[in-house]
Symmetry: C2
Subunit: 307 residues, 2 copies
DNA sequence: ACCTGAACACCGTTCAAGT
DNA sequence: ACCTGAACACCGTTCAAGT
């Protein structure tokens, strides 16, 4: 009667497994499906699956969802329980973050996912903060910069921005983790700044200005990525995409839009933001066109002292 | 012997109250003073004061610190304990966020600060998330946009960007709280988008492009602000400013910088980022120069269909 | 010495017991 | 009906007990 919803959901799925409606290898409903179909919170859906995982009924394979576990591979020598390593911890953390967001990555959750006690993780990573640094390093290694890169400063800056953009888009939690003037001082992050400074090296601008450029450009990319990520997160949490959101607006907001106080906003409402990548290209074109203008001024003034 | 530090600190202050060294109405040391003078963590100092507050020995008056409680105001009808209101909660939350960062703003901490039980807050705000929306609204109201604003699209865009920048700089936790395509749909946030769309209204660009502009510009400002805020937070947490950080770099990083793998970064190290505001002006100038170029192209092509 | 479970000090929020 | 303390289900990490 007072059974919490997550137990109820877990019981329903368990029943389908025990009756054979779901067979070994079949995918069980994803947390997102549960959220959408049953109208419960993400936390509830996550907990329900965690119950089944703890019972050994299902296994979560990063990238391919949660499936019914194949019961003990018959007779064959069972693979030794995988040794716990820093790499496995980081890989698992990344899978959880990609699937459910950074806030789902807790030390305890990772431990459960890896089948060890929470404290075992601490023998391989110093703590939650250190794990975040490892995550950033791992992602950056996934998205290497070419050497020496294309010719010309503009092509180079476009390339490094797009590589960063792609990293952010692949891992929507990444923007939260990157800081700027205090770049996580690890080789992988330093490489990006170095590459950018290299792209700017030959330009007729004072060093201080080249540094400002090397700091603002990635901040711009990250800012845009963070905004897009907020959208992704909102979709995951509410189960409504941008278009649905605009069409199901609450009465008060609808009233405000109709009030005549926000005519331009009202004219734009419902206009689908079809293509997030177009936002990057827009911002990038404006910025680099601006830099080109600045270079023309610096050159025609015959030096770098002009504004 | 094994007495936790916060109890020790509480006992010391209690002693000064009981001996009359601190009299009713006197201010007891603030958490910040305790942190500075005793070299303990903020959490410890906060907890010490919480102990005294729970004992009824002191009361915290938001805005005026924590003072020794006047024992039952003799005979006279006691002034009604300040009524709990949504406004007081938001004001307190903002003060805590400004002083210690958003992560210090917990429902329980606010309740303690206001001298009520945690659950009392829920009669005025729906929960932690709703409180964050209220915080955003309150900050935006602090930074109104002029009507009708200066003439010319460029002056208008510079103004709205600088107003946002100032809000972010005043409250470094704000960038974390703002999303973009799903603008917190409250009038205060809508007003900014409306104002920006208005500034762009007369330009010879397709509506979709004006919308992209109205989304990328604030994302850029926010991205830069988030980066600067990361620096602020790092300073608070490590007690090292940017310059100190560079000069006390760990051995491994110093080795990397000296390794010759990052020549441009090495050349720039220690160069002080004197002026954060210059970063905004840099990014803003590049972007708006770029937009100016785009407009020239659109105009000379005689329409808005050109790239 | 190496490993990790128990425990501590938090958190947001539900629920039911108090007035 | 209104208000809020107790309790639940989390969290990261310290510490000391186990091997």
């Amino acid at each position: 009667m007072t059974e919490p919803p997550y137990l109820h959901i877990a019981a329903a799925i368990r029943h389908r497994i025990e009756t054979g409606a779901l067979r070994p290898g079949d995918r069980v409903p994803s947390t997102r499906q549960v959220v959408r179909d049953l109208g419960v919170a993400m936390a509830t859906a996550t907990r329900a699956l965690a119950v089944l995982r703890d019972e050994g009924l299902v296994v979560t394979r990063p990238g391919s969802g949660t499936v019914v576990r194949t019961p003990d591979p018959p007779a064959r020598r069972r693979a030794p329980v995988q040794e716990l390593t820093t790499d496995r911890i980081v890989t698992t953390a990344m899978a959880v973050a990609d699937a459910e967001g950074l806030e789902a990555v807790s030390m305890r959750r990772l431990a459960a996912e890896l089948g060890v006690g929470p404290m075992s993780l601490y023998r391989h990573v110093a703590g939650r903060d250190a794990l975040e640094v490892l995550l950033v390093r791992a992602v950056l290694r996934e998205h290497p910069l070419p050497e020496p890169g294309p010719p010309g400063w503009r092509a180079k800056l476009e390339l490094v921005s797009r590589v960063q953009w792609r990293a952010y888009r692949t891992h929507p939690w990444l923007p939260e983790l990157i800081s700027m003037t205090r770049p996580v001082l690890v080789p992988e992050a330093m490489a990006h700044t170095e590459w950018t400074l290299q792209a700017l090296a030959g330009l007729p601008l004072p060093q201080a200005e080249r540094l400002r450029e090397a700091l603002t450009l990635p901040a711009l990319v990250r800012g845009l990525a963070a905004s897009v990520a907020a959208e992704t997160r909102a979709e995951r949490e509410t189960g409504q995409d941008n278009h649905e959101w605009w069409t199901t607006l609450g009465g008060e907001v609808r009233a405000l839009l109709g009030s005549g106080r926000f005519p331009h906003l009202a004219a734009v409402q419902g206009q689908t933001l079809e293509d997030m990548d177009a936002l990057l290209e827009h911002a990038l074109t404006r910025h680099l066109d601006g830099l080109e203008m600045r270079l023309r001024a610096a050159t025609s003034a015959g030096g770098s002292t002009s504004r």
